[in-house]
Structures are given as C-alpha cells and as structure tokens.
C-alpha cells in the first residue's frame, strides 16, 4: 500500500510546528527547546486563518542573494538553483514539510525485503518541450546521475541502485543492492529530477531552456541580472500555477535586499538577513514567514591530532561552550541552540532533552586536567571569512574556550581555501555548518561515519557506525528514530564536533502575496500555489 509506506517514511521535521503555529499569531512553537511562549510568534509558516480563494494572474517579483550558475538539477549544488529547479523540474516523488507525496509517480510499491521499488507514472505528463513523459526518461535521468561523466556531486547517494527496469512505458522498477530506508526520500529530492533527454542532447540543462515538467518554464535567463519563469500552461495539476510567472533577480547586499522589499521594488524577499528581521517584522506593509532553518552549525576538531585525539579534551570543549551566547552573538538570537546532537529538537531523529544546557566551566577544566592539560593549550580555528555569522560564531567560541585555558587563534579564509584544507586534514579545528537533509541518514553517513566522504574530523567509532548501518535497513519508522537518537547521543558525548546552533530562515513578502506554505526542509515546491491578491 503506497499510502502506508508513505506514512512509514514520513519525515516529521517540523510538521508539528507548522500546524501548531498556523493558528493564532501569539502561539509559541510547540515542542523542542524553544517551547516558551513569547508575545510574538517565533515561527510562522503560512498565513493565519482563511485567505480566500486563489486568483490566477500576475507576475511575482522575487529577490534572492545570488544568481544560479548551474541549473542542471543533476549537477548543481547551489541553493539558488534548487529554488529555481523546484519550480521547473519534478521528481518521481516530492517532500512537503517532510512528508513524502506522489509527484510524477502517482503510486509506488516496495517488496517486503526492501530491495525493489516499483513506480507507476502519472499519465498525461508532458515535458516543457511537449514530449510525453515515459519510464525511459526515468531510467535515463537516474542513470545520468549515476554516470561518473555527469560529475554529479550527489552521485555517491545513488550507489545502492543496482538496476532500473522499464517493463512498460508507465512503470519503472528500481532494484537495490541492499535495503535502503532513505530511498524514497532520495527520490523526492530535486537532485533526482526527471529530465528531458532531448534538451540534454541539444545543449544541456544549463542554458536558456529547461528540460523539466514543472509548473513553471524558464522563459529567459540573463546572467547576473534575472531568471524569468513563465507559467507552464499545460501543467498536469489543473489550475496551477496561479501566477503568470516569477521574475527572479539577485542582490548579495543585505542592506539593499532589505530596502528592495521595504520600498515595494520586489514582492518577495527570499531569506532576509538576520540583522534586519526585527525591522522587517515591524513593517506594516509586509508579511513575514519562517523561524526554522535548515543549516546546522558546529565546530569540528581533528581527532587524528593531539590533543583532540583524547575524548576528554573534546568533552571539555562540549562543556565549555555557551550555546545561547553563541546564537545571540552570531545570529541575533534567531534560530535554535543545539545542546545535544546535530539535529534541532524539533526534527525527526533528534534528542529532545538538552545534554549541555548551560556551560560547565569547572567540569570542562577538570576534564582538561584529567587529560593532562591543566593549563590548557594553544590551537587554531579555521572559519570561512565570507560568512559573517560563522565568523561571529567562531569569535564567540574563541572567547568561551579562553575561559578554560584553550588559547584559540582564528584563521578566517575563503571557502575555496578552507574546503581543500579541511578535506586534507590540515586543521586543528574548523567552524562550519551543513544543510540538513530530508532524511537524516545522509548527514549521519557522510559527515560522521568512519568511511563518510565528509568525515573530516577523521573520527571513528564502531558503535556509531553500526547504528547508522542498522538504521538504513529499518523500515519501522519509530524503531529507526530510536536508532538515530542513540547515534546522536554518541555524537554528542564523544563525537568529533561541538554542535552549536541551527539557523532560522525568513522570507518577507508584500501584503498582496498569498498562498505561502513554508517548508523548513527546505523546500520551494509551494511556489506553484502562490497567488497575488490584487
């Protein structure tokens, strides 16, 4: 039964929060560490109450930070591209606030051994070129990601797929090598978009033409200036999209982006800068949404180097940090402190109770003494200089570690300098963050598994590894969550990283923009439901 499977792999994330906070504006977020009620809602994912019947027509002017340099959904790893692609491309499935739903596949089944997934394609779906979608396109698209020549940054995630068979034009069967619980979540990402081979062959997917089936079509693309999306008139969801189109422009300057929405120059400001949230919230001409983010921040230590090879030194750091202060300094207090593992308490798989509620300097000093560093030590902290909030995080961490005698020298460098250094293990500590994924397996695996591609702390813990491998094969959702909570506890108490805080993202729109349905996953599929009340 597809629905039961769907239910079984629901990634709850903040679904509860979304529901809880769609009520009165004074409602505080439910659950988690931020459960204290505040006069103004901290989280708001859609309009309160009824907003009337959607009207069709009008063009939305949207402002984002950076232009998308690579729009090929299989190749890109830019946020700007995900935002565009989730309106122009579709995958077999889609995730709405963590819940897996049908998209290009109208139904799916999985064999009891978890090794074969059969997808039935929706009839009457056409690519923007007008060509009907068939199972051959599904096979072509996923195999394109798996082909090393495509150089997809997510290729490794697809390694578990053995074969893709197409018994008929509307059926695709995926055979896996081993059971892989996150498989459906993977098929719901925009990275797994089904693309039009004709467009790939004619000039690739990074030109002025897209190869998708989505509610919007790329109409015009002027580098550094704008991406113009037009309504797809033959979209399979009848009546959608409501907008005639979306014109996306770019500006990396936080001040200028704030001014653009305040002045009415744009209708939709994507991800307002944290420093300006208060003033934007106070503007009576505007509406804001958000409060939940998708970026999880931390400070990783090199466990192959002294003194970080000693778990007591790592524990001393975990106890020394004041995460509330770091969040206040780094992001104006917007976001969630991470007082246990990398997942915020409102996400599926997380530990709900804090392990490091308040800093414990005495305990931290005792641990350092036990490890043989009674007077502390000198070390360095690498941080990406172009990310203001990460620099502020690092500065706060530097100050706090001084209290237990650890003398930290900050090394702010560009991302292109930091990343190879980190990958090569040339660091003592680095301040960083990762985007949380729809299914937590991806981060658990690639960042902390001893064989993980991003396990830059070179951490190895057989007990942790066994839990992550076990979780992949667990089809019972509740059981799987328990396994992740065990893994989180190991990470938090002896892992290679001090988790600090998770971001909060905010979108700000003009009053006339209706139909916003925030998705902290993050997701941008809801743009097809936006409409203008004018």
């Amino acid at each position: 039964m597809p629905t039961s499977i769907a239910r079984s792999i629901v990634i709850a994330l903040a679904a509860a929060l979304v529901v809880a906070c769609s009520g009165a504006p004074t409602a505080g977020p439910a659950g988690g560490a931020s459960a204290t009620a505040t006069p103004v809602a901290k989280v708001r994912m859609q309009d309160d109450g009824t907003t009337g019947t959607p009207k069709s027509g009008g063009r939305l002017k949207m402002l984002i930070r950076l232009d998308a340099t690579e729009l090929d959904p299989h190749k890109t790893n830019e946020t700007s591209s995900y935002l565009v692609n989730e309106s122009t491309y579709e995958s077999l499935l889609e995730a709405v606030s963590g819940e897996i739903k049908a998209s290009l596949a109208e139904s799916w089944t999985v064999t009891p051994d978890g090794l074969a997934y059969t997808f039935k394609l929706r009839p009457n779906v056409k690519f923007h070129s007008g060509r009907p979608l068939t199972s051959a396109d599904v096979k072509y698209s996923i195999e394109r990601i798996m082909d090393a020549a495509t150089a997809s940054p997510r290729r490794a995630n697809y390694a578990g797929i053995n074969t893709i068979e197409t018994p008929d034009a509307s059926t695709a069967v995926f055979k896996l090598r081993t059971p892989f619980a996150p498989f459906l979540a993977l098929m719901a990402t925009s990275g797994a978009s089904i693309v039009d081979k004709g467009v790939v062959d004619a000039g690739g997917l990074n030109g002025a033409v897209d190869g998708g089936t989505g509610p919007f079509v790329v109409k015009e693309r002027v580098k550094g200036q704008q991406i113009v999306l037009d309504k797809n008139p033959s979209y399979w969801r009848s009546g959608m999209p409501y907008l005639d189109g979306i014109t996306i422009t770019f500006n990396p300057d936080d001040n200028a982006r704030t001014a653009a929405v305040k002045s009415g120059t744009v209708d939709f400001l994507w991800r307002a800068a944290p420093e300006f949230i208060e003033s934007l919230k106070a503007d009576s001409n505007l509406k804001w949404y958000g409060g939940i983010g998708s970026l999880s921040l931390h400070m990783v230590v090199n466990t192959k180097k002294k003194p970080f090879d000693d778990v007591r030194v790592r524990q001393a750091i975990f106890h020394a940090l004041d995460r509330d202060q770091i969040l206040a300094v780094a992001n104006s207090g917007l976001g969630t402190t991470l007082k246990a593992g990398y997942l915020p308490p409102d996400r599926w798989g997380s530990i709900k109770e804090p392990i490091y509620d308040r800093p414990d300097t005495a305990k931290a000093k005792a641990l350092l003494t036990e490890a043989g560093y009674p007077t502390g030590f000198k070390t360095t902290l690498l941080v990406i200089s172009t990310s203001a909030f990460q620099v502020r995080s690092a500065e706060a961490e530097q100050q706090q570690l001084k209290a237990i005698g650890i003398d930290v020298e900050l090394k702010p460098v560009e991302a292109t300098v930091a990343n190879p250094a980190i990958a090569a293990g040339n660091f003592d500590m680095y301040q960083s963050g990762f985007s949380m994924t729809l299914d937590p397996d991806e981060i658990f695996s690639r960042a902390f598994l001893s064989t993980g591609g991003n396990n830059y702390g070179k951490w190895s813990d057989p007990e942790y590894d066994a839990l992550i491998v076990k979780a992949r094969a667990q089809t019972d959702r509740a059981e799987r969550e328990k396994t992740y909570q065990q893994a989180e506890r190991i990470l938090a108490t002896r892992g290679p990283a001090a988790m600090t805080w998770a971001s909060a993202d905010f979108d700000v729109v003009q009053k006339k923009v209706m139909g916003y349905k925030g998705d902290p996953t993050p997701g941008y599929r809801f743009y097809r439901e936006l409409w203008l009340n004018q």
Binding site: A149, P153, A156, G224, A256, A415
Partner: protein, 309 residues
C-alpha cells in the same frame, strides 16, 4: 603606433600575473563546485580532467596563450559559455553605468570647480570644497544605501535596485539614476578639486593677465582662455577614473544589483573560474590602455603645442 605595440608586452605581463596569482591561491574550481557536498574523488577527478586542470600549469598557460593569439579567450568553467560572450553580456550594463556616472560627475564637477576657483575663499568656494570633501571621503556603498533609504524606502520615488534591459528605457533610466549619482559623486569630487586647483594656477598665468588687460570680460577670460588650458590635467584624471569606472564598481554593482563586469569578476574569483578571470583581466587592461590612448589624442585637441611635438 609604437605606443600601441608597447601595450602588447604589458598585456602579456598582465595575463601572466593573473594566471600565476590565481594558481597560487589555494583551491580550484572543482573544490569550489564540490564545496557543499561529499567530495567524491571519482567525480572530482572527472571534473578536473574535463576542465583540463589535470595538465601541468605551464601546458595550461601555453594553451591559453595560444588561444589568446587567435582571439579566443576560452570558455567559462562554470557556465560553459565562451568568456567573450560572458563579458559581452555584462558590458552594456557596465558601459551604461560608467558613462552615466561620468556625465553626472562632469555636470557637477566642472561648473562647481569653476565657481570655486573664481570665487576663491568666499562662501561658494567653501561650500563646494566642503561638499567635495564629503564626496571624496564618504564610502560609495554608504552613500548608495543612504540614497536607497531616502528615495526608495521613504519617498518611494525610485526602485531600490536592479536592472532593466534597454528595450524598457523608462525603467532602465529610473534604475540608472541612483547608481550613477553614487558612482559619479566620488569622481565628481576628484574632478572638481582638480578643476579648481588647475584653474587657479592658470588664472595666475601671464596670458590671462594679458587677456584681462585687453579689456575682455571676465566671462570670456575664464571660458575662452583659462578653462581650456586648465582642463588638460582634468582630462588626465578623468582618463584614470574611467579605468576605475569599468573595473572598480563592484561595491556599487552589489548595492544596486547592477549586473556589470565587476560583480562578475568577483563571483568568478570566488568560484576559481580561471578563464573568466583571466579573460576579464585582459579585457579590462585593454580597455584601460585604450582609454589612456584616447586621452592622449584628446590632449592634442586641447593643447595645440603638443600637436607639433
């Protein structure tokens, strides 16, 4: 002709410098592309092979110079489009902003410089000098934000930023006003100060005294005799400023979301898009050289003495 030929080694040196500097900076385009994802060594190796980055640096350089000799600036590693096409796409916006800023600065600077010089140490002079000091010292981006806050957010007279194609001239001009004024302000300040001091110097010259003693009206002494000669150093300054206008407008481009060459180069540097960086540097250097050549030619017109020499 010798001057034109002399630019070739200069350009070659610049290419070499850009090439070497970019490769001295740690991290390459593949690192930048895979920054956020699991570094799959197979994928990274494939990308480096496709981009030709697996070849020794001297081979890459020779290959690039060979292309350059044929007028081929290469292909952007991130967009796959020819570099010349990328520059061409950004050039109109950059030129429009540069020319508009130049016009704004001239309209403000020359008259105020003349007024300041002719009413030396009187109120108009003090006022003009104070304003120019402000224009000179205020950071570009701050003035830009100030204008946006006033004209876009408070008065809602102008859009806060962005760019419209020339097919929509009204919107295009509306969007041009604030960046042109912001950028023009700093150039106006320099130009005004130069006009003032140069004119003051010229007004001390004997031929001006002669003109005055001939009984010419002050107006024709200034505009007919003095100003033309006073403008020669101003033109030099403008030539240098024009070079700055083309490449150094990054901050203004960012604040106003103006899609020019400056912001493209900054993005290319952070992405380590070598061909695009090198191509843009060559292009900007060439433009700078050509502007200075034009300035030299303008001298001949302004100063007949140079025509014989």
């Amino acid at each position: 002709m010798t001057r034109v030929l002399a630019t070739i080694p200069v350009l070659l040196g610049i290419v070499l410098l850009a090439f070497v500097l970019m490769r001295l900076v740690p991290g390459d385009v593949v690192d930048a592309m895979l920054a956020e994802s699991a570094q799959d060594p197979l994928v990274a190796a494939e990308l480096r092979r496709v981009f030709g980055l697996d070849r020794p640096a001297p081979v890459q350089l020779l290959d690039y110079l060979g292309g350059l000799a044929r007028g081929d600036l290469g292909t952007s590693l991130r967009t796959g489009r020819p570099v010349l096409e990328e520059i061409g796409a950004r050039l109109p916006a950059t030129l429009e902003l540069a020319i508009a800023a130049l016009i704004v600065s001239l309209i403000v600077a020359i008259p105020s410089g003349v007024i300041s010089a002719t009413r030396r140490n009187r109120l108009p002079d003090y006022a003009a000098r104070a304003v120019s000091l402000f224009g000179l010292s205020v950071p570009n981006f701050w003035l830009g934000i100030l204008l946006i806050t006033l004209f876009a957010v408070q008065l809602r007279l102008l859009p806060s930023g962005g760019f419209a194609s020339f097919s929509d001239p009204v919107t295009n001009l509306k969007l041009l006003i604030m960046p042109a004024v912001t950028l023009g302000a700093s150039i106006a300040a320099v130009t005004m100060r130069m006009t003032r001091s140069s004119l003051l110097e010229v007004l001390e010259q004997e031929y001006v005294r002669t003109a005055r003693s001939k009984g010419l009206r002050e107006r024709s002494v200034i505009y007919g005799h003095a100003l033309r000669n006073a403008l020669i150093p101003v033109v030099t300054i403008l030539g240098i400023q024009t070079g700055r206008l083309l490449g150094g407008t990054v901050v203004i481009e960012q604040v106003f979301g103006w899609p020019g060459i400056g912001s493209m180069v900054v993005r290319a540097i952070s992405q380590r898009d070598y061909p695009l960086i090198q191509g843009s540097v060559v292009f900007l250097a060439l433009t700078f050289v050509l502007v200075n050549l034009a300035v030299d030619i303008l001298y001949l017109y302004l100063d007949p003495k140079l025509r014989r020499g």
